[in-house]
Symmetry: C3
Subunit: 421 residues, 3 copies
């Protein structure tokens, strides 16, 4: 995963354009995703797919003719979606088009102007302060023309058409944690799942933020009813604890499954209530959809100083945190795949477990073993109303212990699976 | 308001009689309230409107013939509703008719005997201890005759007939906080609201405690279904923190609106659960009515030592606390008046706020501004099920921020008001 | 109760056999219980009533021919339900049949093998460590033959056929707290209640654990719908605080009644959520029955070191703790018997209590007395929806205060009892 992050890092991305296509091509080397192209001007709900933006060169020369800002050095240097320009301006005029971050004076901030015609450069605040009076030559060789919005989609067919949605935004330029980390974890998860038998179908979206999810929802409006669980992946490579932001519903099964995994991880974690500010869960959880989609991250966006600056680089993301995020995603999916509702076929009193060889043969011992306890909990609550996840929550036993117990009981003919759930 | 309190303070009030009429006349100088007179003997639910009580003179002379207790000095000195008497008694006989408070030996307690024929005097405990043996002359020139129960009512017609009820008891004699403070805040609020455009109609009651609300409810039984919100005002002038006792329902909109105001006041406050002991909310919240009426106060009755004694005087109530209570009442009414339910007209994904000029034009900044957050919350929860108050509670943003955001969105044509709520 | 415990202590009990009959005979000396006999081989749900086990003699002789383990000294020495044997074995072979507890090396553990054909001896771990190599003679003169499962049942008919179930297990040998304490409290409670007028009918079960409750439920399946409240009694004689494990429902009236008693006891207590591990509540709360049956105990089984060892002896149980458990059971039953739902016949405003002589005649005093407060709470919540227990919970007043207030109001003609509940 970290290698994919390093390969993706240098590309100058935006919500449309060649950078997006190059990004998806690198993902395609790992997973056979489909590439979709939606024409500029397409109406998608309240929005219109914008013109495609491409950029070749962008620099500022100081009064002495020396290039002091150059897209070649960092693709954060240009205000994303800048219109083309070639002009000479006084420092005063130029400053209206310069963006810096006084709180972090040595870092280049990341700024965009997708829907407002503008041009500009981003630079460290200390550099801005050092600029002397005089005439500056600015050059941006960009184009904003009819073209396409490009995104990637990958569908893994499981036993049923009921779907798990995983979405990662791909529009940010050289920002490693936000969101090359999310792209990498999603790609490797797709590859990993493709080798497993799956109950649910999985849909992975590699889309530009906001306009990408709006476009996808607009084109797939009639299909979203199949989505039973969903996760937006972002900021999955930093050293912070794992954070989960719940879906708008607040008690969706995905919210409970993620909580179960984090609670039993033995590590620090944080569960946050839904808020309509964030990434593409904003769209998936808009009131007209209200999909059960939460957001999985480590340190949440805007809560680490490196966020949206040149310091969100390849040092900020580490392989071990990507791996940890990946492992937790698998644990979540393990719950989604194995959760179900059973009926205890001997609901009146306990069945005799001893004669089936699954209960201690010597009685009177001073405490129930936890695997026997799991058997008793599954039997007690398998009344067609409680899922295994419900039972894990109520018993305070791990989901895996409950699922194993259910499997043992099912194999012994003591449970029947509920078909209606 | 404090001036009104000082004007009202000397009057000898009870649940009926001239003191009540003088009190209402002083209120009428500020607000054009209607005066109602209900004849003694009128049956009101399980009660009967009592005879009218008036008193002219009351004193006790010691064995030396010196007036040692005199109604002229404090109208707390007489047991309220005392029958007339003129007699000479030994100290032992007299003591059966003397009331004092050993815990506060220098204060005169306030005692009543409305529904039990009796007479008596109240005095400081230290004075009681100092009485010597001998014959005492007692004289009470009072009358208990068929007459009327008098109360004041003021109705402000708003856009709709749906009502907000504000009730203050007017039966206590020279007790400043309980409840001249409540009368003053209610009167000034009525005057203030009369100058504003109002969505709801407002009904102010200036009534004797218990029998007054029972009488009013009995006479207006078929109208109370219009009451959507209600507050009983009492003890609003002392220095304590504001305390709100919830309605019997516990989760009525008035309970939530008051909580919202107090929570965001930046000051200490207390929210109490309903209890059937207290003031007229006891009647409004009786099970046959169960109206959404809470009780707003500062230090609750019986929880300050001065309560129901001569120490609840003009020093105990201060203008600044009356003003603070008034301000908070206005803030509560502001919520009642502006709370409503909207429908987001673009429920599928977010509408594009940037093109409407109500969203930041430069993207990538590190945190959502709170006014943008309020816009997003209103859009996300305006699904016909959540009121602005619901949204304020869930978002933890101030109601005013939510209401402002809703107004902006409504003005931009992005919301429709729900007519059914 | 303690005398009954001492009489029962020496008997060698198991889930069937003469020890059970002797035990029930001693109970019968106090309460006229019915003795039921269910033949071996009877199918009871997923189980079969086992053969009857009886034992006369059991010992181990060391290589020198000395009896080192002897059933005569403690009936815990034999693995309960041991098959007969007479053999000579090496120490190594013998050890496969010896049970000890390394954590408590001086105590004999209690072990059983009801449903797995086996034999064995239990002994202190220190004794086990001291055994030298050599040939050991083992002798168990037991029989496992067709016979009966025996249990006791006692039914007290109240005004209605709606039932309170009290169940105690009787299968453990010389273990005083588990469960001679439960048997004694149940027996004395049955005797005490027989002298009182009762609203509900009471059914007391003295049954072997697990197989006993399964057998009883199987034979009485169509009758259990009458059970409105139930308690399993166990470990009621030790010095620990009273602990209550809720029924599977978690909010059954029995759960709330026990909580009410313990909360107002002024002593430490613990309320635990339901778990399917424990005593016969496991069967009563199996999903096909889901009866409102909780488990009342002092220190829960397996949470005191003496549990299921020879240290659970006559010193471990004390008369004062038995008495305290008994008193709390009576307080619980007092609530069950007196809880009901009333309708306030004057639901609109308060009725005038003063004229009925049940309210303070002198007004203005600084706080409501708690008995007046109880009257007001009962009137306020007697709307056909709240039981007295509901009112006690909401008001934070004691159930007894609420019940007394309701009786006063009922006697004054102010309440009507709800017949439908």
């Amino acid at each position: 995963m970290y290698r994919l992050v390093t390969e993706l890092f240098p590309i100058c991305r935006s919500i449309t354009g060649k950078g997006v296509r190059e990004t998806l091509a690198l993902v395609q080397e790992r997973v056979p995703i489909d590439i979709r192209e939606v024409p500029s001007g397409t109406r998608v709900f309240d929005w219109i797919v914008p013109k495609e933006w491409n950029i070749r060169e962008a620099w500022v020369k100081d009064p002495a003719g020396k290039k002091i800002i150059d897209l070649q050095k960092s693709n954060l240097h240009v205000l994303n979606y800048s219109a083309p320009i070639h002009a000479t301006l006084s420092l005063g005029e130029l400053k209206h088009h310069l963006y810096s971050s006084p709180e972090h004076p040595d870092w280049i901030p990341y700024r965009t102007s997708y829907y407002n015609n503008n041009w500009g450069f981003c630079l460290p605040h200390n550099q801005l302060l050092g600029l002397s009076e005089g005439d500056y030559e600015v050059f941006i060789d960009s184009s904003l023309e009819d073209g396409h919005l490009t995104y990637g989609e990958h569908y893994l067919r499981g036993e049923t058409e009921v779907e798990v949605l995983i979405s990662a935004h791909i529009c940010h330029p050289s920002l490693a944690n936000d969101n090359l980390s999310g792209i990498a974890v999603a790609a490797f998860l797709a590859d990993h799942l493709s080798k497993l038998p799956l109950k649910y179908s999985y849909r992975f979206l590699f889309i530009p933020g906001t306009i990408g999810s709006i476009t996808w929802l607009s084109l797939n409006e009639s299909e979203v009813c199949r989505i039973k669980y969903g996760l937006v992946f972002t900021c999955l490579g930093d050293s912070g604890k794992v954070t989960y932001k719940k879906s708008r519903r607040g008690d969706a099964d995905i919210d409970r499954a993620v909580t179960e995994v984090l609670k039993n991880s033995g590590e620090a974690f944080e569960i946050r209530e839904f808020s309509p500010y964030g990434y593409d869960e904003r769209q998936f959880c808009s009131p007209g959809f209200n999909l059960p989609v939460g957001c999985l991250m480590r340190t949440p966006h805007s809560q680490y100083p490196e966020y949206h600056t040149s310091a969100d680089n390849l040092d900020f993301v580490r392989p071990e945190y990507l791996a940890d995020s990946f492992t937790k995603c698998l644990a979540i999916i393990e719950i989604l795949e194995s959760d179900r509702v059973y009926w205890n076929l001997n609901p009146k009193c306990e069945p005799q477990l001893g004669k089936r060889g699954i209960y201690s043969q010597v009685g009177g011992q001073t405490d129930g073993k936890s695997d026997e306890l799991a058997l008793l909990w599954v039997l007690n609550l398998s009344d067609g109303k409680h899922s295994l996840l419900d039972i894990a929550e109520r018993s305070n036993l791990k989901f895996s212990a409950i699922a194993n117990a259910a499997q043992v009981l099912f194999d012994k003919g003591l449970l029947r699976q509920d078909r209606s759930t």
